[in-house]
C-alpha cells in the first residue's frame, strides 16, 4: 500500500520536474515571465490523448504532442518578442485563457468539460507501461533525459547568451546577437518539454479534462521555479520534490478530503507570496525574481 503511494508520488515528481525545468528555461534563464506556460502542458496532454485514443503508436504520440506544443511556443513568441515585464505576463496569461477556452469548447475534438477518459498507457517496443512501477521507470528515463538536455543547454555559451538576454537585452543585441531568435528558441524548447510532461501526465492519469490546465495550475510550478531559485536546475529538482511532497503531509494530518484541495491551493498561493516577498532569490538561485 505504502509502496504504491510512494511510487505515485515519484511519478508526479518526475512529471512536474520536466514541467518545472521547462519553465525554468524560459523564465529563469531567459527572463520571460510566461504565465501562460500551463497551456503548453495542456496542449501536450490533449494532443497525446487524442492521438493515443486514435490508436497511434505511443512514441509518435509523445513526439507529436511535444512538437505541437513547441509550435504553439513558437506562435506565442511572435507577439511576446517585443514585450517586457508585466505586459508580457498578461499577454501570455491571455494566451492560456484562449487555449483553455478552446479545450473547453471544441467538443468534437476534446469532448469539452467531459474530458477524455481511457487514455492508454504507453506501449513502446512491445513493452506495456500499465503498471505504475514500470511507468515510473519510463518517467524517470524521460525526466533524466530532459534534465540532461537542458543542463547541457544552459551550461553552454548558448545558455549564457540567454542569460545575457535576460540581464540586458539591448546590450546583448549590441554585441550582434539576434535576441528575438534566442527568445523564440527558448520558448519553443520550453514548450516542447512542457508538452512532453503533459503527455506523460495524460497517459499516467488516463483521464484529462480542461480543469487541469487553467492558470491556477501554474501556481505550484511557478512556486517550484522560484523556490528552487531562478536559473538553477538542481534547485528546481529539490524544489519539485519539496512542493510535491509537502502538501501530502496534510493528508496525514487527517484532513477530510473535500478540504484537501483548497488547503493545498492555499499552501501554494501563500508560499508563493511569502517566497516572493522574503526570498525572491529562492534557495539556490543566483538572482532575484524581477
Amino acid at each position: 500500500m505504502i509502496d504504491a503511494y510512494f511510487i505515485h508520488l515519484l511519478v508526479l515528481i518526475g512529471i512536474y520536474l520536466i514541467l518545472a525545468i521547462s519553465l525554468q528555461l524560459s523564465l529563469g534563464y531567459s527572463g520571460l515571465l510566461n504565465l501562460g506556460h500551463i497551456a503548453f502542458f495542456g496542449i501536450g496532454a490533449y494532443a497525446y490523448a487524442i492521438l493515443a485514443l486514435g490508436g497511434l503508436s505511443s512514441i509518435f504520440c509523445l513526439l507529436i504532442a511535444g512538437a505541437l506544443a513547441a509550435f504553439f511556443g513558437y506562435l506565442l513568441s511572435i507577439p511576446i518578442n517585443k514585450l517586457k515585464g508585466d505586459y508580457l505576463a498578461l499577454m501570455s496569461l491571455g494566451f492560456s485563457f484562449v487555449v483553455y477556452a478552446v479545450l473547453l469548447n471544441w467538443d468534437q475534438l476534446t469532448r469539452g468539460p467531459l474530458g477524455l477518459p481511457g487514455i492508454p498507457r504507453p506501449l513502446i517496443f512491445g513493452f506495456d507501461f500499465s503498471s505504475n512501477a514500470s511507468f515510473l521507470a519510463l518517467v524517470s528515463i524521460i525526466a533524466l533525459a530532459s534534465y540532461f538536455f537542458l543542463h547541457r543547454l544552459v551550461k553552454s555559451l548558448f545558455g549564457r547568451a540567454l542569460e545575457a538576454t535576460r540581464d540586458d537585452e539591448l546590450a546583448t543585441r549590441s554585441l550582434g546577437k539576434n535576441t528575438f531568435r534566442l527568445k523564440s528558441i527558448s520558448l519553443i524548447i520550453s514548450a516542447f518539454f512542457a508538452g512532453i510532461a503533459g503527455s506523460l501526465f495524460a497517459s499516467y492519469i488516463t483521464f484529462i479534462d480542461p480543469s487541469s490546465f487553467t492558470f491556477v495550475n501554474l501556481i505550484p510550478i511557478l512556486l517550484i521555479v522560484i523556490i528552487g531559485g531562478i536559473a538553477s536546475l538542481p534547485g528546481t529538482f529539490l524544489a519539485t520534490v519539496f512542493i510535491v511532497l509537502l502538501p501530502e503531509l496534510f493528508r496525514f494530518v487527517g484532513l477530510p478530503s473535500e478540504i484537501l484541495g483548497p488547503v493545498r491551493q492555499i499552501f501554494y498561493a501563500l508560499t508563493l507570496i511569502l517566497i516572493i516577498y522574503f526570498k525572491p532569490r529562492g534557495f539556490y538561485g543566483k538572482i532575484d525574481l524581477e
Binding site: 515585464g85 469548447n105 483548497p262 492555499i266 498561493a269 501563500l270 507570496i273
Partner: protein
C-alpha cells in the same frame, strides 16, 4: 427578428453592466496605483459569500446585509492595500512581482472561500423567480432593470466623484503624475488607500448584484475578473470611463457573438478579444495607454 436582436441587445447591456461594475472598481485602482490588482476578483467573491452568510445563514435583514457587505468589501480592500501591497511597494517590487503576487492573492482568497463555504453553488433567495417584463418581444426582469439602473447611477456617481470632489481630483493627480502630486502636498499613500476603499466598495456592490442575478461560486471572482479586465483593456484600462465603455462593448459583442457561435464560446470571445487588444491596441479604444512605469 427584431425581438431576437432586442433580446440580445438587452442581454448584452446587462452583461456589460455587470462587467462594468467589476471593471470600474478595478480600473480606479489600476489607474491610481499603476499595477494590475487581480485579487480584485477575490474581493468580489468574498463579498458575495459574506452577503450569503449574513442574509441566508444568519438571516439578517436584506438591507442591513447589503450595507454591511459594502462596508466589508471596502474594508477588505483597505486591508489588502495596507498589509499586502504596501509592504511590497516598500520593497520597490516591480510591476511583474505585484502582478504575480496579486494573482496568488486571488487564488488564496478564493481558496479561503472554498474552504469556508464549500464548492457547491450558492444562491441568494431574495427574489423568487419573477416574471420578466416584455418589451417588443424581448424579456427583461425587474432585477435586471435594477442592475442596469444602479450601475448607471454608480457610474454617474463615480464621474461626480472623480471630477468634483477633492478626493477624486487627488486620485486623478496621482494617476497622472505621482511625483508632481506629492510636490503639491498630496499624500500618495493616502490616495492609494482611498482608491482601494472606493474601488473595493464598488466591487462589493457588484458582488451583491451578481449574487442576486446569477449565483455564488468559489471561482466567480476569477471569471469576473477576467471579463472585467478584458472590458477595461478594450476601453482603455488607464481610465475609468474607458473601462466602463469597454465592458459594455464586451457584453454586447459576447451576446451578439453567440448569435453565430455556439453559446459555450461566449468566454472564448472575451479571451480572444483580450488577446487581440493586448496585441494590437493595448491602449484600448479610448487610447489611454497601458502604463509601463
Amino acid at each position: 427578428m427584431t425581438s431576437i436582436f432586442l433580446q440580445l441587445l438587452i442581454n448584452g447591456v446587462i452583461a456589460g453592466a455587470i462587467y462594468a461594475l467589476v471593471a470600474s472598481g478595478f480600473s480606479l485602482i489600476y489607474s491610481t496605483n499603476k499595477f494590475v490588482h487581480f485579487a480584485h476578483g477575490g474581493v468580489i467573491a468574498l463579498s458575495a459569500y459574506f452577503l450569503f452568510w449574513l442574509f441566508s445563514s444568519l438571516g439578517l435583514n436584506f438591507v442591513v446585509a447589503i450595507l454591511l457587505t459594502v462596508l466589508f468589501s471596502a474594508l477588505l480592500g483597505y486591508l489588502l492595500n495596507k498589509f499586502f501591497y504596501k509592504p511590497f511597494r516598500a520593497k520597490k517590487a516591480s510591476d511583474s512581482i505585484l502582478l504575480v503576487s496579486s494573482i496568488a492573492l486571488l487564488i488564496l482568497l478564493e481558496s479561503v472561500a472554498l474552504l469556508l463555504f464549500g464548492a457547491d453553488v450558492k444562491t441568494i433567495d431574495l427574489i423568487k423567480t419573477s416574471k420578466g417584463i416584455e418589451i417588443a418581444g424581448a424579456i427583461i426582469t425587474p432585477l435586471q432593470l435594477v442592475i442596469v439602473f444602479i450601475s448607471v447611477v454608480l457610474f454617474f456617481g463615480l464621474y461626480l466623484l472623480m471630477k468634483k470632489t477633492k478626493i477624486g481630483k487627488a486620485m486623478r493627480a496621482v494617476a497622472d503624475n505621482k511625483d508632481v502630486a506629492e510636490i503639491i502636498g498630496i499624500s500618495s499613500e493616502k490616495i492609494y488607500s482611498w482608491s482601494f476603499v472606493i474601488g473595493s466598495a464598488i466591487a462589493g456592490i457588484a458582488a451583491i448584484l451578481i449574487s442576486l442575478e446569477q449565483n455564488i461560486t468559489p471561482t466567480m471572482g476569477t471569471n469576473l475578473m477576467i471579463k472585467g479586465f478584458t472590458g477595461a483593456i478594450i476601453g482603455g484600462v488607464g481610465s475609468v470611463p474607458g473601462a466602463i465603455l469597454g465592458s459594455f462593448l464586451l457584453g454586447l459583442v459576447e451576446n451578439f457573438g453567440i448569435w453565430f457561435l455556439p453559446s459555450g464560446y461566449k468566454d472564448a470571445i472575451a479571451f480572444i478579444l483580450l488577446f487581440a487588444f493586448l496585441l494590437f491596441r493595448p491602449q484600448g479604444i479610448l487610447g489611454i495607454k497601458y502604463n509601463q512605469k
